[in-house]
Every structure is written in C-alpha cells, then in structure tokens.
C-alpha cells in the first residue's frame, strides 16, 4: 500500500503548538501579570533572576532597551524581540528549561503578561488574553530586515584577490588570551 498514513485530528492537535506573529495558533486562555508574577517566582526566577535580569549565564528577559548600538548590547524581549508570539510560543514549548511543554496555556498567558510587565510594556493590572494578544507591539518590532548580504556585501567580495605584494609588512596587533582556552586542549 501507500507509504505513511493519514494524520488524525487529535494527533495534529497534540503537536500543533506553533504560534505566528499574526496570532495564528494561539490557544484559548488568559493570564494576568499577578498570576504570572507568582508562577515566575516559583518556576523561572532561579535561572532568570527575580526581575528577569538573568543569573550567571542564564539569559536576561528584561532590560537592555536602547543598548542595541552599544559596545555590549543586552538583547531581551523588551529590547530586541520583534514579536510577542515568539515569547508565548517559546515559553510553552521549552520553558522552564528542560521541562518541555509542562505549562498550561493559561500559565503561559500569565508568564507572558508578567515578562511584558518586567519590561515595562504593560501595567501591573494587565491581563493577557487570546483576544488582546495581537494588540501588543514590542519596541523593536521594526528592528529587523531580511538577509541582504547578497546585495549589500557580496559585491565587495567578488573582485579577484591580490596575490603579490598586497600590503606592507604586517605586525601582530592582538593575541589570543591563553586564559580563556580550556587547559587540556593541547
């Protein structure tokens, strides 16, 4: 017979977890900043810090607005992410870390609301719902552009390269720090 079999509705529903920026895929549900705050303290703060500031090398979830041109930018939901849907989608599929798909949809709404609040994007009494979800616009929504390397850069790198007497004698301006390389490497 033919290869493969029909996917059943219940099967598709079980795995169909992706959400798009236009809201496609959002499940029914809602969650408040207050509910999110409590859940966050319990399930998230140990890694991401009480205020989403990040602990150790665990990523920050808030702050960093206005740093994208700085020497060391802080890229967070508030400063860098273009779409709120990504926060819902990712939290639901992957957080708390290594406990995949363990949260209820209402919990994800609440955590999303709370992380928005940590980034000063919604007030403390805000409740996020499937209905108002797409009305939220993140600050860096316009900060992205499609890959334009082929036109913006590559023409600079298509000239046949120089092969003889190409430059003055070079000198060493920087050396790798032996301190950062693991010691058993050599």
């Amino acid at each position: 017979g033919p290869v493969g079999r029909a996917a059943l509705r219940a099967e598709i529903a079980a795995w169909n977890i992706d959400i798009r920026p236009d809201g496609a895929g959002l499940p029914p549900g809602q969650g408040s900043v207050t509910d999110g705050e409590a859940l966050y303290a319990e399930a998230c703060a140990a890694c991401h810090g009480d205020f989403g500031e990040g602990l150790g090398r665990y990523p920050a979830l808030s702050g960093g607005q206005g740093t994208l041109k700085a020497d060391r930018p802080t890229k967070t939901v508030g400063s860098f992410w273009p779409h709120l849907s990504t926060l819902f989608d990712y939290t639901r599929r992957a957080m708390p870390a290594y406990q995949g798909q363990s949260l209820t949809d209402d919990q994800v709404y609440a955590l999303t609301a709370y992380i928005l609040n940590l980034n000063d994007l919604v007030p403390a009494d805000f409740t996020l719902t499937r209905q108002n979800f797409t009305t939220i616009r993140l600050p860096n929504a316009d900060g992205f552009r499609p890959d334009d390397r082929a036109t913006a850069e590559d023409p600079l790198f298509r000239a046949p390269p120089c092969r003889q007497d190409c430059r003055t004698a070079p000198r060493i301006t920087a050396r790798a720090s032996p301190d950062v390389t693991p010691d058993d490497a050599n």
Partner: protein, 405 residues
C-alpha cells in the same frame, strides 16, 4: 617531489651512530599477542588517541544541557568528521528516541496530513551526499579579536558527514503541498522542541530527511533516528529528532530566528533569516594545537575550506601575513556544500610565519578579512564570522591565534 624530501644523507646503511633500541630490541607488540576479534564488537580509538575528543568551554553556557562542544579539527585529516567527533549543539540535551516510537507528521497547507514511521521513511528513494554543517556562531568569539587559542575552539563548530536519506521534496509530495504554501516549519522532538522556518523553495531543492550518517545510524546527539539536512545553511535549521513538518504561507518567527540567529549590525538593526554560510577556510595544521616540532625542512600546511553556495574553486595561503599568496593544492574534488581539504607543501626555513588561508567559491565570492566584516557589520553580529584566520608561528614552531595590523 621536493628536493628536500630526497636529499642525500650521510652514513645511510653504513653502521655509524647508535642503533635505535625501538628497532634493535624486540618490542612487546612484536613479541606477544594483542586482543582477539571478539574483544571489540564496536571498535574504539586506540588509547594513544585519547586526547582526540570533543571539548566544551564551561564558561560559554550556563550549563551543559543547552550548550555546545567542538570538533577537534586539529587532529583530523581528509574531510570526513568521524561520528564520535561531530560537534554537538543541543538545547535540552540529547534526546533518546526508541526507533519504534518515532513518528513524523506533515500537516498545514497540504492535501493529506500524514504520519510516517521510521520504516515508512525508508521506503522512499534513498540518496547519499556529503555536506558540511556549520553553526552560525562558529568563530563568533573572534568578532572582537583573537580569543581562543586553538582551532578546535575558533572553528570547531563544524562537521562534514555523508548522509543517507530521502529527499524532503519526495516526502512533501506524498502529502501534496498546496499552492499557497511558501514556508515550512521544522520541529524536533527534544524537550526544547527546536523549531525553524525554512523557505519552501529550499525545502524542495536539496534538503534531505536523513537517517544514516557516515554509513551507520544517525548518532543520538545528531538527531537519531531522523534529522533534517539543509545543505549550505546554518546548522541551527538542520532540525534534529525531526517530528513535525508544517506547511504555511508565512514564517513563524520562532525564538531561534528572532532572539537568536539574527545578526545585529552597527546601526542597531538586525538581519534575519540569514541562512547561507558564506565561503570560509582555516588552516588546521600548523595551528595552536599543532606546533611545528620537526624544525626546518619539509612542512605540510593543511586546512579546510567550504562554502554554503557550492564548491570551493580555489584556496590561497600566505606565509607572510598577506603580502604574498600562493595557490594551495585542493585534495580531490569535494562536492558542493562540503568540506574541501587543501594542502601547501613548503620547505620551512625556520623563520616566523604569519599563516592565513583564503577560500574562493564557485560563485567567485572571496573569503573576506575579519576587518572587512567588522567595517560592514560592527562588532555585535555574533554570527556568520567567516573572516580569514591568522596563526603566528614563532621560531621554535609554537603557534598563536593573532590579528595583524
């Protein structure tokens, strides 16, 4: 063959000098037996090669579950990466899926949503191809100048594997792609449910659903039983433990294509969907881990070159930090989007060297300098650092990762 390799030697066969006891005394491996053919049903490297391993950098990540380790390029030759040494980048550790429990679902903008078992996938026509997989963050530490003193760490987020599998387009065709479909969401079965949006055009071009690597079953850390192969594109889109393919009319803006794998430029905007890995090369010996220990005379300089746009056309090597370049010898003809080994056989005079390699791909794109990339993008790009790499070789053969001015 260079004259240096065949020059006359005093005393050959004349009996002068002190005989080498490794020759004149019977050695244990000649005097007695080794283990038999039942000892190692699945063989391992000899103990003397115990240093040839993947290494991670503890300070790179918060833990080792969402983390990376690095291929020991310095210890390899040819182009294939042995399965045990292919670098790992996992987001929730290594998923272990019993093959009989594996399912792949195709749905969204298709005529017939389908579920496949592993056995089902193996009934489509199979092909084998060698492709490199490079993490977009490979060499990313070097955006701000030389950091890591070892080619394993500067360039080791790459491997080159011969995959056996089926063309993705055949599997998609079985489900019937609807005309409105433009994008594909690929998703893994790991606890991060790793997911990326891929343009349908690429999906229907050369992507594969692979279930074998270098002849045997995929390794767990490479997606057993099934991974997506996206030739020439950044490693993050090569979804492992592939469980779901959804067709849609727009991309999904997943976390790995917004928060991560976007390239922040100096003006504060970021490039998104920067999939293709541009031409790049690196010398793997000499390298910080491979100092010259034999002194003057014949020296094999060797490295790897690759391009996400196709084949490598040529590689030049400089000994003097870019003043003069000479053509390296390409070993064999690597396929498109696969690692190409190159060699330059020189007679080293014992003077310091400033070694660089520079790849040109079949489209004529010339691997740029790091400085050229920094001028265009600033220092915060994190990904897609394909600039030429400099190794400084000192008089005693020691090698350091440097930059030149």
């Amino acid at each position: 063959l260079g004259a240096a390799l065949v020059a006359g030697r005093a005393g050959a066969g004349t009996g002068e000098g002190t005989p080498d006891p490794k020759i004149t005394e019977l050695q244990p491996w000649t005097a007695g037996p080794g283990v038999g053919v039942e000892a190692n049903p699945y063989g391992q490297p000899v103990r003397f090669e115990a240093g040839v391993v993947r290494r991670n950098v503890p300070w790179f990540s918060a833990d080792t579950i969402s983390a990376v380790n690095f291929t020991p390029l310095q210890a390899l030759d040819g182009t294939l990466t042995p399965n045990g040494l292919c670098f790992e980048r996992n987001h929730a550790g290594v998923a272990e899926i019993p093959p009989e429990d594996y399912r792949l679902m195709i749905h969204g903008l298709v005529e017939r949503p389908l579920v496949f078992t592993l056995g089902d996938l193996m009934r489509f026509p199979r092909e084998s191809h060698s492709y490199f997989l490079e993490c977009a963050a490979n060499t990313g530490m070097e955006w701000r100048g030389p950091q890591m003193n070892g080619v394993q760490f500067t360039h080791g987020m790459i491997h080159n594997v011969n995959y056996t599998g089926v063309r993705l387009r055949h599997v998609l065709q079985a489900a019937g792609v609807k005309p409105a479909a433009r994008w594909l969401l690929a998703e893994g079965a790991d606890a991060a449910a790793m997911s990326r949006s891929i343009p349908l055009e690429k999906a229907l071009d050369d992507c594969m659903i692979a279930f074998r690597m270098n002849g045997e079953a995929l390794r767990a850390e490479q997606g057993y039983p099934v991974r997506l192969v996206v030739p020439g594109w950044e490693g993050n889109v090569w979804i492992k433990w592939l469980r779901r393919l959804k067709l849609g009319d727009a991309p999904w803006a997943q976390r790995e294509e917004t928060s991560k794998y976007t390239d922040l430029l100096a003006d504060g905007t970021a490039r998104e969907m920067s999939f293709v890995m541009e031409a790049k090369s690196v010398i793997t010996s000499p390298a910080p881990e491979n100092p010259i220990t034999h002194g003057r005379g014949p020296l094999v300089i060797s490295g790897l070159a690759w391009s996400g746009r196709g084949r490598i056309a040529s590689v030049d090597v400089t000994l003097d930090g870019g003043v003069n370049w000479r053509a390296a010898r390409l070993d064999g003809a690597a396929g498109p989007k696969a690692l190409q080994r190159f060699y330059l056989d020189i007679d080293w005079d014992g003077r310091p060297l400033m070694l660089q390699s520079r790849a040109v791909d079949q489209t004529g794109y010339v691997q740029p300098t790091k400085e050229a990339l920094r001028k265009l993008r600033g220092l915060n790009s994190a990904y897609h650092m394909n600039g030429t790499q400099t190794w400084a070789v000192d008089r005693d053969g020691g090698v350091t990762n440097v930059e030149l001015g």
